[in-house]
Amino acid sequence: MATFYLGLSTSGHDPALALVDGAGKLVFAEASERFLQDKRAWGIAPDHVPHLERALAAVGFDAGRDRLRVASSWPLVKGDLPVQVSNAMLPASDGLWLRSLQAQAQANAGASLLRLGLASEMPEVLRFDHHLCHAAAACYQSPLQDADCLVVDGEGEVGAVSLFDLRGRVLKRRWRSWGPGSLGTFYAWLTMLCGFDWRLGEEWKVMGLAAYGRVLPDLQAALQTMLVVDRGRLRFADAATVASVRAAAERHARPPEAPLMQAADLAATGQAAYGHYLDLILQSCRAEDVPALVLTGGCALNSSYNGTVAGRMGYDQVFVPSAPADDGNAVGAAVLAFLRDTGADAIPDSDGSPYLGSSAAPRTLAKLQQGLGGLKATDVTGQAAEAVAARLEDGQILGVMRGRAEFGPRALGNRSILADPRPAEMKDRINRLVKGREPYRPFAPVVLADAVGDWFDRPQPSPYMSFTLPWQSRHRDRVPAVVHEDGTGRLQTVDRATAPWMTDLVQAFDRKTGTGVVLNTSFNIMGKPIVHSVEDALAMLVTSGLDAVLIEDLLIEK
């Protein structure tokens, strides 16, 4: 008999499931939105029956032989506390809605085991502190033995900031913030003011737009009074201050239908204030001679800020996991369940791979060989990187679906759209023909890990696209399609150990063009999750301007 630990992200938004095996190895992790092809999968059970069934099959779980223990990413139902939802920044109705979804996810966690014949009554659920789940997931994926681990998000158990010590892979909380002060909420409010919608996950759009704006000093000073940072703990300022800053900020607000650039200065100023707050928090974290930081929680998706930390805040090294937001908590819950069940203290080592999700179904792939309705299929086994590099050089835009899907919001070469970053017009072409995104938003570059210092200032590993760094000025004209307005790029670094195929591709493209940089954007259209099935990938090929898709070693062209 083997035991598997099923971790569930039970926040009610961004549900996900993860499976850790009896040896403490993470063997599967996937957000529900991928399986369902429904962005953020609001209110969906993280153990959604067909998704769980596929995940268990993928890891070789044998119902007749193996045991499944269920874990959730919250200890309690937030709505059971007699604490009013804060309306300091967002409407209380949003908070009540979130509480209702969280209550449902917590109550029903594990119920799918009944349907799958894996339990005869509601299974016992091991329930863990929300921020501890964030920390455990991040530290599991990191190679670090010792680090300060900071969790910053929208809402945790009692507050929205927690600091943990990781020492010899053992996690212990040093302190946490109590009360409603939240940088996640601050950024969500900023997103709405800029005319976007945090409920659609549009915080990215604010961060991208910030590069086009000027920081307005008066507004920045005002925004920096909304929250109080006290020894790293965060709380909202008094109600009168918050109200007066809201009024000042609302004078800069962009109605959703107004031109995008109208919000650029507000975005730049809000991003600057956000950085100021995180700097203040980090100043209270560095206590011992531990020069490494693990940064996680939803706020760790702010790659612009993340890229500024190493070497500046007392930390030489910063690690951000591939899924720092609530989807990643499925991993944390599963890892913590393994620790509790086995009595181990130390978080198991991992290889750090983000490629933890589903693979293309072999049966569907086999069927493609029998006919593709006018599409041309070529088996490029052993020469896939060369074949793709040649087509990129010719200006083609390709979708790639190879190996296991990435866990986390970024496409890291296994579910990616790839293109040549050298033509300045490539950004507009991809937007017009494939993605349909706002024209100002940047695309990401992929470079070899050992060449990152040749291309970027403040070079550091970025295997999950967690850091935005400044391009060295001499290169900016060489790859304009992946240089953002402020001269930065949110890069992915690849090496042979973790991403062998992408490494081959970057090298092949370099040999052909003399430029070791490939444009990488997620394999989806705007508003949809990243493709999950072979059918999703083919549908995108025929309904968009993609020139070809590579599914495993089968190159399918129009």
Binding site: P75, L76, D80, L81, P82, V83, Q84, E157, V158, G159, R173, W175, R176, S177, W178, G179, P180, R231, R233, R235
Partner: protein
């Protein structure tokens, strides 16, 4: 560990916790400290839930004790909450 195993620690820290909680409540409720007794009813004193939460954070930091988000709401009086903190300190 139970309370009975560590009577000395309980006895030593209970007045400290009580004094700290009384100061916290006095500051948050704008009341003289001597109006806050172990038998005082937390809701009767006018304690709002947000202040209760913030005070728990201060207690957690000051005494290096872990509280649950629901801890304070499970206790009606100042003294009952203080006893719970002391129990956790020794637990």
């Amino acid at each position: 560990m139970t309370e009975t195993e560590t009577p000395a620690a309980s006895a030593a820290s209970a007045p400290d916790v009580l004094a700290f909680v009384r100061d916290q409540l006095a500051a948050r409720l704008n009341l003289p400290v001597d109006q806050i007794e172990p038998g005082s009813d937390l809701i009767g004193l006018g304690l709002q839930s947000i202040d209760a939460v913030m005070m728990c954070g201060e207690v957690e930091d000051h005494f290096k004790v872990e509280l649950d988000p629901s801890t304070i709401f499970e206790h009606e009086t100042v003294g009952s909450f203080v006893d719970e903190v002391v129990r956790r300190l020794n637990g």
